[in-house]
Amino acid sequence: MKSMTRRKLTEFLFLFPTLFAFVMVIIIPFILGIYYSFTDWQGTGAVSKMVGLDNYKAIFQEPGFLHSFLVTLLFTVLNIITVNVVAFIISLLVTSEIRGRNLYRAGFFIPNLIGGIVLGLVWQFIFSNILPSIGQSLGIAGLSKSLISNKDTVMITMVIVNTWQYAGYIMLIYVASIQGISKSVLEAAEVDGAKYWTRITRIQIPLMANAFTISLFLTLTNSFKMYDVNVALTNGGPVTMFMMKPVQASELLALNIYQTAFKYNNMAQGQAKAVIFFIVLTIFSIIQVSWNKSKEVEA
């Protein structure tokens, strides 16, 4: 009996550190956050009154937030496509018979090692100095001014930088998946006369369904939550008009939430935006994963 109590005590002590941190860092702030979004919270512990849905009503009438929402959706969709297409092409290249493929695999992953702040700064230099200089000397009108300070092209710069950063990571997942495909299946198809393209579309891609699920999920959440590259590359700018009000052309949701709280000192509305952000991200993730899972079964 005594050893049984000791055993229970040990197990409790093993669970305790993570459970304690989980409650203190996630659960309590999460519950407080939901609660604060219905109050006039100012960022300190004290809450003077409940305001019901006022914060939510206010944010859905705010052009800046709605614009951020649309821009984030646009960014997420574009990014999912470009990251996965680029990553898939690279993964085919580095699993072919070319020389130095292992070196390339390691090399394409390097941008993913570096943080978004550092990368954002480097690309800010490229877009605002290097490319305009090239554009001017070659007489390319579209490049002769900074793509970042133009409201119509600024989101393209975000997509380029994120694709460059993230494609190498997604490539690794595709490479692992391609290597998992049995060689004999591909050889049999080749002997049967299936062309290179047919082998990719008819055999490789269906057999990689699981890798696509993972990659799409990772790209979706990564794009939707994008913050650090946004801060360092564009910091939300430049200004554009939306619903007849000036808004920040490239301010993604995560940055908009942060600015609401700290630049405009509206903690309660910032928190309400964060709750909406959480709900939308959760719904997207569930839809995407179940949609992909159903494809996997068919394949």
Partner: protein, 295 residues
């Protein structure tokens, strides 16, 4: 046999295609590496030179050491302190995340009760909670807790590391859980019969078996914590005494706007530690990233 088939059906007629693929891959790779080349080249130039002619090769290699010396001694950037703080926070966070998460995962796997099931599901569910929804209340809450226990939780190592445990543990427990399920029970039962205590069984028998998952957990959490910006910005502040490398880079960029030779040198220094680590631990880092995402 299979090699024979491959040679017959594959390689030979495709020599031309292989060369084309090699050229395409090489060009794509150069394009991918271009930002790094730009950083290195522009760390070797003066600001005047960069502004007059943004696209250009370095003409005076001595300028590289001048720039590096300037950025190294720059009190705003303060690279050595930032490096120290990043190392302290990353290493200690990794240590407690991996040890505590493996302990918890082991109990959750071996103890099949309704409670352990519920707790595991709670950790899995918590993985979808984005940082944004807890970050503002976390600050208020950490401030209150710090005032109550008289140990500051904001602008302190302990607060930062504790926060990383909270945000990193769910995924880590999930990864350990998946691996431990496949570890045979017989070894532990034998240790039990030999009179080994429960804790002894874990640390002497189970922990050594977990080595491959430790790599995954350390790599996934390590890259995240090392490069993280938003959580340190909130917990440590942009002008606090403790500053990680991303905070230092962003702070420097704000203070030395358009001083491109110094900004490029600062990004070069900021990239170096992780790239050097990658040169030595490339195999483990790639393996860890792949295993972590597939599980």
């Amino acid at each position: 046999m299979s090699e024979h088939v491959e040679r017959m059906a594959g390689s030979k007629p495709h020599k031309g295609r292989q060369l084309a693929l090699e050229i395409v891959t090489f060009l794509l790779f150069v394009l991918f590496m271009m930002p790094f080349i730009i950083v290195v080249f522009n760390s070797m130039r003066t600001n005047q030179d960069i502004i007059n002619q943004p696209v250009g090769l370095p003409t005076n290699l001595g300028q590289f050491w001048t720039n590096i010396k300037d950025i190294w001694n720059n009190p705003t950037f303060n690279f050595l302190t930032a490096l120290r703080d990043s190392v302290i926070i990353t290493v200690l966070s990794l240590a407690i995340i991996s040890i505590f998460s493996s302990m918890a995962a082991w109990v959750l796997v071996r103890n099949k009760t309704r409670w352990s099931n519920f707790l595991f599901m709670a950790y899995v569910a918590a993985m979808v909670i984005p940082f944004q929804v807890v970050m503002f209340p976390l600050l208020t809450w950490f401030k209150a807790v710090g005032d109550f226990i008289h140990i500051p939780m904001l602008r302190s190592y302990q607060g930062m590391i504790f926060a990383y445990l909270g945000f990193g543990e769910a995924m880590s427990i999930f990864i350990f859980h998946g691996f431990i399920k496949g570890v045979p029970l017989e070894l532990e039962e034998a240790a039990d019969i030999d009179g080994c205590s429960r804790a002894g069984t874990f640390f002497r028998i189970v922990l050594p078996l977990l080595q491959p998952v430790f790599v995954t957990v350390l790599v996934l959490n390590g890259l995240w914590i090392w490069n993280d910006y938003l959580l340190p910005l909130l917990v440590l502040g942009s002008s606090g005494d403790i500053r990680t490398i991303p905070l230092a880079v962003q702070g420097f960029n704000g203070a030395y706007v358009k001083q491109w030779h110094l900004i490029m040198s600062s990004t070069l220094l900021a990239m170096l530690p992780i790239i050097i680590l990658y040169l030595f631990a490339q195999k483990y880092i790639v393996q860890g990233m792949v295993d972590g995402s597939i599980k």
